[in-house]
Amino acid sequence: MKNSRDILIKPVVTEKSTSLLAENKYTFIVDLNANKTEIKKAVEDIFKVKVETVNTMRVKGKMKRVRQFTGRTPERKKAIVTLKDGDKIEIFEGL
């Protein structure tokens, strides 16, 4: 199995994700090929918390154009992890 640190790429810090913190939900960008089980394990492993559920979604890359050349920004997978009541992830604390 992959290393936990390869699965979780970075946290998502936006207005939307910040407001989700109130529901004990934490948002990450994760490896495109990771599944919910892997994500759950990775979060529990790294942050030493208990995960209730994981919701994932693929975020399609945006179309970008430089003069006549069209391209696409990379596709990503976003995971919203709901923790067990009372558990917290420190790096989000104070946000």
Partner: protein, 435 residues
């Protein structure tokens, strides 16, 4: 909030002010709310980022500085009230302790009004100039009237006399040649006015109407036209007309003509009264000035430089405004008078110092004698101003409050009262001699 004041130098006070933690927190909160609207943090709309995010983004110090900027002036003003300190300049502020979660402590160094040690201010001696109007002065005034209303009568055939108004043609030659500006026809020349080069007018005396005369003169050395200065010239002059001033006879008829009075005696009395009034006003202000000067001379004050500087600025502003009313701006004025702003400052310094000194002394007396201005008096004054500018009193008051002029008015009124008080208490000796 706690504040302690300590006089460290003659006119300098060190204030140590402590602001409670809660107040600081409140200010920090306000600061965040202000800053959050200005910063653009990726992932958040403007003004929507949480506090911790903003703090991390702009730095704690920025937020803190912003908060201090809000809380310090407020605390400073409050401290002034508490310690009853009247500053004359902007304070120098040093923050001693400024951390979140602890009270904010800062020091403010500020210049204050100097202590005035009053000398004798009751019963100072002043002389009131006489307001007596002598007959000669009235007569002089009458003659001036007479002159102003004199008629010019054309003299049919006579000779030019002193003070006559003549119409002349003239052509001037230097070395037998006419020169520019040396010729004119029907030129009005008053003999004795001194408008022409010396000797010219005198030589015309005795010339009859219609007669011609050659006038020999020498241009003065410092004549404005350089090619003519110091040269001898001959003017061919023809006298076309002579007009002589005819003074009206001083009688009731004259009084009727020049005034609303029927008889000369009434006119005389009127002139006398007017002169008396003017003299009385002059005498009153002389007494006031004399009293204030004497009182000020008796008191000792050490005036801090800043106060004088402020006064000078104020005076220059006033001058600027007056000039602006005449449609001249400061730069133009300096060009005309060939001076500079610095010259002006230097020139105004002694005056400014004198004004500041007397203001300080007057204020000190007001305090010593507890002379104050009541609310009603202020209202009355505002009413007067309102009538003068033809506006509603309430509007005027509001404007004054906005511009901070109200304080000035109150101060001014108090000072006027002090002056009246001083005059009342002064020993005034009458000067019986006429001017």
């Amino acid at each position: 909030m706690k504040a302690t004041a300590e006089r460290i130098e003659k006119n300098t006070v060190l204030l140590e002010i402590e602001v409670e933690q809660e107040m600081l927190e409140q200010a920090l909160d306000k600061a965040y709310r202000k800053v959050v609207k200005q910063v653009n943090i990726p992932g958040f709309r403007k003004g929507k980022a949480p506090k911790a995010m903003v703090e991390r983004y702009v730095g704690k110090e920025t937020l803190f500085g912003e908060a201090a900027e809000m809380v310090v002036p407020e605390a400073y003003m409050q401290a002034l009230k508490e310690t009853e300190i009247d500053p004359i300049d902007q304070p120098k502020i040093d923050i001693v302790q400024g951390e979140a979660g602890k009270p904010l402590i800062f020091k403010a160094t500020v210049e204050v009004k100097p202590e005035v040690s009053l000398g004798e201010y009751k019963g100072v001696e002043v002389t009131r100039p006489s307001t007596e109007v002598t007959d000669e002065v009235v007569q002089q005034e009458l003659e001036r009237l007479q002159n102003r209303h004199a008629k010019l009568i054309t003299v049919e055939d006579g000779e030019v006399q002193q003070d006559d108004t003549t119409l002349i043609d003239f052509a001037g030659y230097v070395d037998g040649e006419a020169f520019a500006g040396g010729t004119a026809e029907n030129y009005t020349l008053i003999i004795g006015s001194g408008n022409f080069i010396p000797g010219f007018e005198e030589q015309l005396i005795g010339v009859k109407v219609g007669e011609e005369k050659d006038v020999d003169v020498t241009f003065p050395e410092e004549y404005h036209a350089e090619n003519l200065s110091g040269k001898a010239a001959t003017f061919k002059v023809k006298v076309n007309e002579i007009k002589r001033k005819e003074l009206a006879v001083l009688d009731d008829e004259f009084a009727k003509d020049v005034s609303e009075f029927d008889t000369l005696d009434e006119l005389r009395n009127d002139i006398r009264n007017k002169l008396k009034e003017a003299a009385a006003t002059k005498a009153n202000s002389a007494v006031e000035n004399g009293t204030v000067d004497a009182v000020v001379a008796n008191a000792t004050v050490e005036i801090p430089e800043v106060m004088i500087e402020h006064k000078v600025e104020e005076m220059i502003n006033n001058v600027g405004q007056r000039l602006a009313q005449q449609g001249v701006n400061m730069d133009q004025y300096f060009q005309y008078t060939n001076s500079s702003l610095n010259d002006m400052r230097e020139r105004m310094k002694p005056d400014a110092e004198k004004t500041v000194r007397s203001e300080l002394v007057l204020d000190a007396i007001a305090k010593a004698e507890s002379i104050t201005t009541s609310e009603e008096e202020v209202n009355e004054e505002i009413q007067k101003i309102a009538e003068y500018v033809k506006q509603d009193a309430k509007v005027v008051r509001k404007n004054l409050e906005l511009q901070g002029g109200l304080g000035h008015i109150i101060q001014d009124m108090a000072r006027r009262k002090v002056v009246a008080f001083l005059v009342d208490n002064a020993k005034i000796s009458e000067d019986t001699k006429a001017e």
